[in-house]
Amino acid sequence: MNEFLQGGLYGGGIIVAIMSSLLFVLWTERKMAARMQSRIGPTFTDPLGFLQAPADVLKLLQKEDIIPEKADRALFNNAPLLGATVAIAGAAVVPFSATIVGADLEVGVLYLLAVGALGVLPVFAAGWGSNNKFALLGAMRAIAQSVSYEVPLVLAALVPVILAGSMKLSDIVAYQSSHHWLVVWPFFLGIPAFGLFMLAMLAESNRIPFDIPEAESELVAGITTEYTGMKFGLFYMAEYLHTVIASAVASALFLGGYDGPIAPGLWWMVLKTGLLVVAIYWLRWSLLRFRSDQLMALCWRWLVPSGVVLVVGAAVWVVFAG
């Protein structure tokens, strides 16, 4: 078959699968948040409330598309598209099973970090293009946060790379299935690195408890202040996409990916990713928001030094015990 056609079909299949999983993720979060707050959540669309997310999309599509008169139209209109594209780009290198992987790059981990670094641009384009104080303040906070938390993220991702001796995600998963999952052994490196990775990933994507860029009590809605309809919907979707893909990457790097005690395969990956997503939403609905300076202090005083210690520890472990 034509390789472009094959690539398109394969990539399209993965994108469609992840997008569809978002419906379930949204439903789970709504119901979970409702139970945690002694509510029952959406019930009007159907008894389970499962059709709430499609109904929301229909609603967003009907909304008037408002563009502020003094906005920078090119940046304002393209920012949501860019944001969603960058958010889903990470899925390309994630090995969902031994055979389902978009592009098993030799530099897979580097690719993920590079795509994460790109995420700054749509945020800035949205904040600056809106020509709104709140949006710009939100964008500046988001960029400062992303740039700072990239450092511990890179350090945490280096630990599995050093232990497995490869930047290829499928190699890292293969190493874990032939040895141990990294959170099992060496757990004194694996568990802290896993925690650090999740924290930095959450902060880089501006999720609670690190969502000061859109702190609604101070900044209206941050970068999404001026956005209406499906443009807002795209930002919203990008956030959920980022959470799902970050969880999938974390399960591949630290939790053994598609490896499992019985019948390794896609369903282990789905299970692990799902559990991590639930854990993230659990945190989201339990914790309060940090202050901006607390966030920076946490990053530079605690996470970066511990990341350095972990990387050195991983190197020592490989040389003397691996």
Binding site: E106, V107, A114, G116, L118, F124, A125, I143
Partner: protein, 181 residues
């Protein structure tokens, strides 16, 4: 001679976006177009069997340098109450110099082209790591020392002259702890 469509597309993106960088009246637009140019360069590296270089290019240039430039433009956009805009003066002279440079570079490329192996040799990231931490270790370490010196210099430049007395909580933190001990 076969025509490489992938290269043509990437090269066109780089040239057009680079033109936008120098012609944009809005500095923010210029910086964002520069991001596109650098992304195109990364795509070029990826086409030349250098995925590691492509990844590093995106990570440091698009993720780091462009972000820093955005911050730089943001804080210098208004100078003494006057908006700073990009002005291009002497575009005709610039065009002449650019054309001359193009001719020189084209000559050099054309003369040296037969010595470049085609297709380019594939170097895995393990090969690059061995070269960096083996053969070129001293240069690599000297560079990291230089970067460290730059970081220390930056910290010294922006350090507050009258540091707050340590140990005392800031007024905001004190107010919060009063309300919610």
């Amino acid at each position: 001679m076969n025509f490489d469509f992938g290269f043509a597309i990437v090269a066109a993106v780089i040239v057009v976006s680079a033109l936008f960088v120098v012609r944009a009246a809005n500095l923010i637009h210029a910086v964002l177009w520069l991001g596109v140019t650098l992304l195109g360069t990364a795509a070029l590296y990826a086409q030349l069997n250098a995925p590691f270089l492509a990844g590093v290019q995106v990570l440091t240039y698009v993720g780091g340098v462009v972000t820093l430039m955005i911050f730089g433009v943001m804080v210098t956009r208004r100078h003494d109450g006057i908006d700073v805009v990009a002005q291009t003066e002497g575009a005709d002279r610039g065009f002449i110099f650019a054309s001359a440079l193009f001719v020189v570079l084209a000559l050099v490329t054309w003369k040296s082209a037969p010595h470049v192996p085609n297709p380019a040799p594939v170097a895995s990231s393990a090969d690059i790591a061995r070269a960096l931490l083996g053969e070129y270790l001293i240069g690599f370490e000297v560079l990291s020392l230089l970067l460290l010196a730059a970081i220390v210099g930056a910290v010294v430049l922006v350090r507050r002259r009258d540091p707050e007395p340590a140990g005392e909580p800031s007024p905001a933190a004190a107010a919060v702890s009063e309300v919610n001990p």
